[in-house]
Amino acid sequence: MSESITIPEQTLYLPIPTPVTAVRMLTKTECLITVELDPDRIEPYRPGQFFMLSLPGIGEAPISVCSPPEAYPRLQLCVRRVGKVTAHLHQLAVGSTIGIRGPMGNGVPLEQLKGQDLLIAAGGLGMVPLHALINHIVKNRADYGTVTVLYGAKEPGELLFRDELLQWGSRGDLNLHIAVNIADEDWMGHVGMITTLFQYVSVDVAKTAAVIVGPPVMYHFVMQEIRKLNLPPERIFLSLERRMKCGVGKCGHCQINEITVCQDGPVFSYDQLKTLPEAI
């Protein structure tokens, strides 16, 4: 696992005021927020890490890095409206300020992925952190072998980053497969669970790494397919979602066994998780 950044103690809980430079609705429930980080106070981020977004008087929410590291000090965040903090994040206007703490967590081990063929599986909002990874790969395409992306969403209207999906799909050096559980009239693509996309996947076990991010239910089913591919567990990476309050290993909310997901994760190899009850 890559090492976590050390956070100066005085700013452990202190949100850094950060200007919002763009806001765009991606779907009915997800919006993309762009902010400009203060490079003197916030370090560069990696795919798989997350930030705590803070609104005074409302609260904080952990939100994944959505833009590739190359975008720093710009940062994009994709927020689904599910409750109090996320609803207020949706009301942000360009020019307003939000508080930011982070980057937090370990992130995807980019060094380990280099030179490998990659199998990337995104379920629903799992596309948010993987969007950062895929864009990083696209910008450094020569560093990786064959890249396959599987993306599953409930319905076409829930697909995120539709423009980019089209671009990725037409690049020729990226195998993109998309599945929706329920099609609408305009949908011409594959219909079914994300697991049904594995029929299009063939991997070279000797040099393939997998990165999977999705809701907890997805892991059960996707892991069944992944196991069939016989990839070594230490080359399969998953990102876990847990309730988080502090993000810095203190509050106990994200603890699974002796691990705190906010610090030791959120990205784990399957090798680590196999022996970790309650993890997936």
Binding site: L12, G57, G59, V82, R243, G249, E258, E278
Partner: protein
């Protein structure tokens, strides 16, 4: 270092003199039990007491405290913790000293919690040896914390008319400067040995819990029937967490003033026994049942913290046993888990 002692009256006098420089916090008698409180008159201080209901961790991590203050202009600031007067935290039992070590490990090591660290560094801790079991609930002897000095700066051992005094740090020596110490001879050490021997026989269990064996037993006890049994009794009230000196989980929430312009982000003690503790968006809950949560509680005490930090997560203070309406008792849980293990091998 030659052993020293101080008469009980002289210690009180010394503590009283220290009131000019230190804020004194120690056990006082409240209606039914003892509690840690700020002391302005040392006559209220009860150095020889049976354990308090709430643990002394509240001195370093108040039940509710501001982490951030918001101003009208949208900026946020850290609240200042006054350190102009050091705090003398007096008469911590060994269980609480070891619990303090554990929380130090988590809150004072990088990235350290600035609020906890500031308060902790500003405090001098006087520990006191227990010369009899607090009551029939305590099992510090079984957990190996009895007689431990942990992070104490000074350790006191009460005898009939005086205390043996061991300074354990520079802070402790500074605090003792000017105290009427005298030489303590072998007969004092022998007296302590005699009393301790008698004391040990009075604990409810004479058997030591093997911490390593307990952690190992837990590894194979995820599906033990005990979790469902406990779930049937537990009311998920969270009292066990609140009274436990080694529980440190907290919640964070914002509180605005009526103006809606200024406000605070606060943390408050939280409890892993409450349903919402591990729930995430979409209603997914990784510890959705009481059985899951009881197991998490006891695994934290007996396994997770031990595996990670090599420190016991339960110091055997017995506070949770005293307060639990369902009479759930960690020692009985540990013994059950160890029993099955020994039955197996």
């Amino acid at each position: 270092m030659p052993a020293s002692k101080i008469s009980k009256d002289d210690l009180k006098r010394h503590l009283s003199e220290k009131l000019t420089d230190y804020t004194l916090v120690g056990p006082v008698k409240s209606r039914l039990a003892y509690k840690f409180d700020v002391i302005s008159n040392v006559d209220r201080l009860e150095i020889e007491y049976t354990t308090t209901v709430l643990p002394p961790k509240k001195q370093f991590m108040p039940t509710v405290e501001p982490l951030i203050r918001f101003q009208g202009d949208g900026t946020a600031q850290l609240p200042l913790i006054p350190t102009d007067r050091p705090v003398a935290l007096v008469a911590l039992h060994s269980c609480d000293l070891i619990a303090t070590d554990l929380i130090d490990t988590i809150f004072a090591t990088a990235p350290g919690d600035p609020y906890y660290k500031t308060r902790r560094e500003n405090a001098v801790i006087l520990g006191v040896r227990c010369m009899e079991p607090c009551d029939t609930h305590a099992f510090c002897n079984a957990m190996g914390t009895l007689d431990q000095k942990g992070g104490a700066d000074i350790f006191l051992t009460p005898l009939d008319h005086h205390f043996l005094v061991e300074p354990l740090s520079k802070k402790g020596e500074t605090f003792l400067a000017g105290a009427a110490l005298s030489h303590s001879g072998d007969e004092d050490a022998q007296a302590v040995g005699r009393i301790a021997n008698e004391r040990d026989k009075q604990f409810r269990s004479q058997e030591k819990v093997d911490l390593k064996a307990l952690s190992d037993a837990m590894t194979t006890s995820r599906d033990h029937e005990i979790w469902d049994e406990l779930a049937g009794e537990c009311l998920a009230c969270g009292t066990c967490n609140i009274t436990c000196p080694t529980c440190y989980c907290f919640d964070m929430c914002d509180k605005m003033e009526l103006s809606l312009v200024d406000g605070e982000r606060r943390r408050s003690w939280d409890s892993c026994q409450l349903r919402e503790f591990a729930e995430v968006a979409g209603g997914e809950n990784f510890r959705g049942t009481r059985a899951d949560r009881q197991r998490h509680r006891f695994f934290r005490k007996g396994k997770y913290l031990f595996d990670r930090y090599d420190l016991t997560g339960c110091v055997g203070c017995g506070r949770c046993v005293r307060q639990c309406v369902a009479d759930i008792d960690p020692l009985e849980v540990y013994q059950r888990l160890l029993e099955r293990r020994s039955a197996r091998v």
